[in-house]
Structure formats: structure tokens, C-alpha cells
């Protein structure tokens, strides 16, 4: 981890006085136990420890802690199910962040399906390298593991929690807990569930330099311009991509302020901090849009004058133009948001002034609400539930009876039944014949003649006996038995040429066949 990226994480930490971003002091440890050196606390100790503990160290440590879940995924490679061990968890986790961050703020934000699509070739390549057959089912399984790891599914999707020790101003060692998310499922207005990276994950992935976002973006775009001018098109594509990433992050920063404001005006400092950020952002945006227009113009101009033979370069420049257009689009949208930002604050303030205000501190539902209720006499708890129950289900729409509607409904004429189409079941003409066709025609004719020759109903055993008596070959007996079975089988009953009923308790007595005896009668069909 570089110092530069450490400082950038610090930016995010300072900006985000919101849940899941900042660390909280969870417990203070007794000095005697905590100090690894056993140093006594006191003025002398304070100075020496305080002097020796730069604030930046804690900041950098916090940055490093954010990478531990990713490190855990790498370690997980060795202990994963044997079939999944050839996948590189760390690379794949970064690729998930890459896909998700790339789509952030777009209409089609990344969801499970998008990530699956992006992962198919990557996982297949890893399968090939390990000489393992490609399996979509295994890919899904691995993706479950990856997303689960990044979302912290193992701990009910709570934020990751990493503890560390820092020395406070008094020179005492204190245990702190840092909580953060990397990836989370979010409700999308369309009703889908999408994957979103946390601000920490964005910072971690983008590996920002020790610069303000605005400067980082200006730098990225300057690089694109210069690379285009010097004809280094492939590098320009890469730089344009970086510029777009900056644009995504910049947008995220501004939208976070607006989101927080909409949710709770008290979360955002609208006296000094937010107006300053928004004004700066607006000025920055206007400058960026001008620069991006310049890049786009230059790229289009290049494309016009470039000969067709330079297909590779043309493609690269076209890509730069596309990426820049995307930046422009994002910035135009953001510009609109920024223009209305002040109103968001005023409106939110007016709206929230009348909303039921959450009390602070918030209760622990199990310990502060459920447990006292369980301790209560049931009559008292029942009374409280009358008031406490409705909010859990939301409003129930009462049904009003309408006499007019009821009468109209009762007196309405019977709805004409739509003309029913009579389904014609296709008869599988070959179904029965396929088995019969194994026998020569004369055998089939002889068998049918024997069945038809019987007067009305006849027992199968009796029919076989008659056939034997007439010196019929075994094949004829077999066809008779086959036709009888077809007549008995439920699925063939409608199409068989013979009707057959079971004679309960009667055994078929024949040297060739055994089983229950059947009562046969010839029917109209001729097979």
C-alpha cells in the first residue's frame, strides 16, 4: 500500500461521518494490559508515546485493514472445495469490483447476471489453464463464493469488522474496531437487486493518487489529450478509461451528499462543507466538460484524417471518443443534479421537519424491545402490541361495500362463453403399429382374424387355446397377446383394435404367457 493511496482513503474516512465508514472506539483496554511495552502512563510516557505515534500511521493502518477481506479471499483459495481451488480468488474479487464500479451510476447497473456474463470467459480461461473441463454450474458456485466473500455473507452481510490497536493522545493503547463494507446488494428503482461497491471499495480498487478527485481527473484527461496529440492511441484508451473511473468516483461523491441529505438533513453539514463542495464541484464540472469537448473534437478530427489502413489506431481513437462521450454524459447528468442541489437541501429540510423523527439512541430490538416485552404480563404486552403491531405490516386498505357495484354485478348478463376450440389430439398412428410391424402381414392378419372370429367377448386364455388348436404359429399367439395388452393399457385403449378388461382372480393358463386373464372383445378399429 502506498502512502498516496493511504492518504486517499483518509479522504474518504473524513468525508464520511456516516455508518459503516468511520471507525468506532468499542472498548478501552486497561493501560497495564494494553501497552505491549508495559510503559507506565503519565506525562513523560504520554509525550514519548505521543511523539512516536504519528496520526498518519493510524490512517495508513486503516487503509491496510480494508484489504484484509481480499487477502482472506486469496488465503481461501487453498481451503476451498477441491473443484474450486484452481480459481484465483483475489483476481476474481478484483474483477467483480471492476465490473461493478464500471457500471456504477448507469441505468443498467451491474447485477448478478451481468457479473456472471463478465465472468464466464475469465473462469473458462482459468479452467483451461488447469486442464479442468468448463462447467457453468461450477462457475455459478464460484461466483456465489466470491460475491458471498465480498458481501460478508458469512456474517449475515454485516459490515466487515477489523480490530486494531492505536495509541491515543494520552499515550495509552486502545483497541479500536473498523467497520466497512466492500460490496452490497442494493434495491434498484426498477425492482431489481443490483450490486454496488461501497465508497471504500471504490477507493481501494481505483487506487487513487494523493490528489483531490478533481485534480486526479484533470490529470487523467490531460494525459489523454497529450497521448492523442502524440499519436499514442492505445495508451490514450487506457488513460481515457482512467478518466472515466475518476468521473464515476467524482459523481459518487456528489451523489452521496445528495442522498444523505434526502435521507436526513442532519447528516450533512449544509452550513459550510456541503455548499463549498458543491460550488467547487460545479466549477470543476464546467471546466471538465470544456476539456472533454476538446478531447472529443480532437478525437473526431483524428478519425476523419486517419487513413483506413490504420485500422488498429482508428479503433483506439474511436474507443477514446466513446469513453469521453460517456464521461460527458455522466457530467451533463451530474451538472443537472448540482444545479438543483440547493433545492434538495431546502426541500429535504421542509419534508423531514414533519416526518416522524427517530429518537436517539436507536434501540436494540432484541434487548431493548423484545426482552422487556417478554418480561411483561401478557395483558399489558397485548395492549402494547395493539399500538406497536400495525407499523410492521404497513397500511391495510379498508374495503368499502358499494351497493351500486354489488347490484350491477348481480344483475349483469351472463358473460357469453367464448367458443371453445375442440382440441384435436393427434393420434400417433405409428405408436401401436411399430410393435406389430415386427410381425409379417400374414401373421397380423391371422391374429386379427382369430380375434374378430370370436363371438363377442372371449377370455384371452380361451382365445389362445383356440389359436393353438388351429395350429397357429407362436408368432400369431404373440400378436394376439400384444393386441390384448394394447387394449388393456390405459394410454392405448382409445386407439387399440381390441378392448380388454381384467378378470380379477383369474389366471392366464398358457404355456407361452402367464399373468392375469383378460376378457377381450374386438372393436371397430383395424390396425
Amino acid at each position: 500500500m502506498t502512502e498516496a493511496s493511504a492518504a486517499s482513503m483518509n479522504d474518504s474516512g473524513e468525508a464520511g461521518e456516516r455508518p459503516g465508514v468511520d471507525f468506532a472506539v468499542l472498548d478501552s483496554v486497561a493501560p497495564g494490559d494494553a501497552s505491549p511495552t508495559g510503559r507506565a502512563s503519565g506525562p513523560a510516557g504520554v509525550d514519548s508515546v505521543g511523539d512516536g505515534w504519528p496520526i498518519d500511521l493510524t490512517r495508513r493502518l486503516r487503509v491496510l485493514l480494508h484489504t484484509l477481506p481480499l487477502d482472506g479471499m486469496r488465503r481461501g483459495d487453498a481451503i476451498r472445495d477441491a473443484e474450486l481451488r484452481h480459481y484465483d480468488g483475489l483476481v476474481l474479487a478484483l474483477r467483480v469490483l471492476d465490473v461493478v464500479i464500471d457500471r456504477l451510476g448507469l441505468e443498467a447497473e451491474a447485477d448478478r447476471e451481468v457479473v456472471t456474463r463478465a465472468f464466464r470467459p475469465v473462469l473458462s480461461a482459468m479452467d483451461d489453464a488447469a486442464s479442468v473441463p468448463v462447467s457453468p454450474k461450477r462457475h455459478e458456485w464460484m461466483l456465489d463464493k466470491l460475491l458471498g466473500g465480498l458481501r460478508n455473507d458469512g456474517d449475515a452481510r454485516r459490515p466487515f469488522r477489523e480490530e486494531y490497536t492505536a495509541i491515543d493522545d494520552d499515550g495509552q493503547a486502545q483497541r479500536h474496531a473498523l467497520e466497512f463494507r466492500l460490496l452490497f446488494d442494493a434495491f434498484h428503482p426498477s425492482g431489481r437487486t443490483v450490486l454496488r461497491p461501497s465508497a471504500e471499495a471504490c477507493n481501494l480498487y481505483l487506487g487513487l493518487l494523493d490528489l483531490d478527485v478533481e485534480d486526479a481527473q484533470a490529470a487523467a484527461e490531460a494525459v489523454v489529450e497529450s497521448q492523442l496529440a502524440r499519436g499514442r492511441f492505445d495508451e490514450a484508451v487506457h488513460s481515457a478509461r482512467q478518466a472515466r473511473i475518476q468521473s464515476v468516483r467524482f459523481r459518487d461523491k456528489v451523489l452521496q451528499i445528495l442522498r444523505d441529505t434526502r435521507r436526513d438533513v442532519d447528516r450533512v453539514d449544509w452550513k459550510v462543507e456541503a455548499p463549498r463542495t458543491l460550488n467547487e464541484s460545479l466549477a470543476h464540472l464546467e471546466r471538465r466538460v470544456a476539456v472533454e469537448r476538446g478531447i472529443l473534437g480532437a478525437a473526431d478530427e483524428r478519425l476523419e484524417i486517419m487513413p483506413d489502413e490504420e485500422a488498429g489506431s482508428r479503433r483506439a481513437v474511436a474507443q477514446v471518443a466513446d469513453l469521453t462521450r460517456d464521461c460527458l454524459l455522466r457530467h451533463a447528468e451530474l451538472h443537472e443534479q448540482l444545479i438543483g442541489a440547493r433545492n434538495v437541501f431546502l426541500d429535504s429540510q421542509a419534508r423531514q421537519a414533519f416526518a416522524p423523527k427517530p429518537s436517539r439512541p436507536l434501540p436494540d430490538l432484541a434487548d431493548d424491545v423484545l426482552e422487556p416485552l417478554l418480561r411483561m404480563p401478557i395483558t399489558r404486552a397485548d395492549r402494547l402490541f395493539k399500538r406497536g403491531f400495525p407499523p410492521f405490516a404497513g397500511p391495510r386498505v379498508p374495503v368499502l361495500a358499494s351497493l351500486e357495484g354489488l347490484v350491477s354485478w348481480m344483475l349483469q348478463p351472463r358473460r357469453p362463453q367464448p367458443r371453445q376450440e375442440i382440441p384435436v389430439e393427434p393420434i400417433d398412428a405409428t405408436d401401436l403399429d411399430a410393435e406389430l410391424r415386427r410381425y409379417p402381414l400374414e401373421v397380423r392378419v391371422a391374429a386379427e382374424a382369430l380375434i374378430n372370429g370370436a363371438d363377442g367377448e372371449v377370455r384371452l386364455s380361451r382365445l389362445l387355446e383356440t389359436a393353438r388348436a388351429s395350429q397357429a404359429p407362436s408368432a400369431v399367439l404373440e400378436v394376439i397377446a400384444l393386441l390384448a395388452l394394447q387394449g388393456f393399457a390405459t394410454e392405448d385403449r382409445d386407439t387399440a383394435g381390441v378392448a380388454a378388461e381384467l378378470l380379477v382372480g383369474e389366471r392366464l393358463e398358457d404355456p407361452l404367457l402367464y399373468g392375469d386373464d383378460l376378457l377381450l372383445s374386438a372393436v371397430g378399429r383395424h390396425g
Partner: protein, 252 residues
Amino acid sequence: MTSQRDPVWYAGRLVQWGLRPLARPAQEAEYRELVERYFNDSLFRTTVRELTDGLGLHVLDASEHGVVLAPQDESIFALKPADFRPGSSKVDDRLLDGLAQIAIAATVFPRARDLDEDPDIVRAPVTVDEVEAVLRVLCERLSVEARGAPDPNASDENRGLVEAWRVYLQRLDTIETRDSRKAMRATRRIIEYSLDRLRDFGCFTQVRQGSEPAWQPTRRYQVMVQQLAGTVLFQIARETLDAPSPLAGDAT
């Protein structure tokens, strides 16, 4: 949107949309326009607020996801505990349903600070076992605490002065003597029923977690619990803390 109708009419339309938990502004042009108007037009917002207040509703949240409404106390829109399980009017049943509701919310939001999180973050789905474990652990803890204390007398039981946790454990024991497997299902069935009813109200969707069915809270449910946990539930918690000791009086 035409502006020929009175703003109150549009406010009424927005309330109607808010009462349809499955409707989404992204899919309904009129709903989307009304939500935008709610954001941009302060006069319209006041009208909506007055209208909902008059109807006995709170507007808990308005966003691109839609409007989340909640009934006020004594509102015609409030679901009564007795209506939750039609056909059963027993106090015990109502009590267990109420406990299941709080336990479900406590499972979805296990820590106080979870209630302060962005409601757009999808919380983990819950299973019947998880909810049951929250209730069982608490009840058993209270049962251990009460060891050595005299058992509640019959008169207390008749007057409804026995503590709620005893009812929960009793329900389990009563059936357990006959068929312990059924007993497990009995307590779990109460929770499962509650989750299914909440699903009917657009508060959960059913998903699968491995081979187990699980219930995924919707954004609407998250908003309702997060917003109201700080008001209604917190007040309940306060009142319970201020309440006299469990078996002291209160025969009403």
C-alpha cells in the same frame, strides 16, 4: 401530466399509489411524475402531507422507489393484531404473533446501529430458524433467571398476569409432551405464518437459501422498521422500562 385538476386530486392519486405496495415509479409514468412533483413542488408536498395526515397516515419515505406510508395510531388503515390471524381471537395467539413480529424485525436488524443504515442496502434474508432462535434464546434466559422464584399461581394466570415468555415456552412444552417434532414445528409455524403474512403485505419476498426457504425483506419493510423503530418501538421500549415489575398489579 395535465394541470387541469386540483392539486388535491393529484395528492389523492399519489396516496393511492403509495397504498399499492407492489407499484413502482419506474414502471408507472403517473406515479413517477407524482413522486417528482412531490420532491419539486413544496405546495404539493404540503397538500399530500395534509391529506395523508387527515387520512391517518404517515409518509415515511418518498424516493425513486416510491412512497412508503404507515398508519398512524387508531388509523382506519391500521392492521389490528386480531385481523392478522383471522379466525383466532385468543390473547395468547395475538401475543405470540406480536412477539414473532418483533423477533423478525430484530433478526433483520440485529444491532441498534443497523437501524441507521441506508435503507437501499439489501439486508440478508432471514429464515424461520433464525427468528425462532432469537426468541428461544431470550425466553430461555428469562426462564433461567426465574428459576427459584415461585411459580405463577392459577389466579395470576387467569388474570393474564403471567409473563409473556412463559406463554411462549408453554406453547412449546404443551405440544412437546405429545410429539416433540410437532412442537418444534408449532413454534416455527407461528413465525412462518407471520413471515408469509408480511409477504402478502409486500414486506418480504420468499427466496431459497440452499435448500431452506428464506424471507428477503423488501425496501418497504426496511424503511418501515428503520423509521418506526426510532419512534413507536422506542416508545414501547421506554414504556416497558418504566413499567412496574412484571407481576406487580396491572390486572386490566
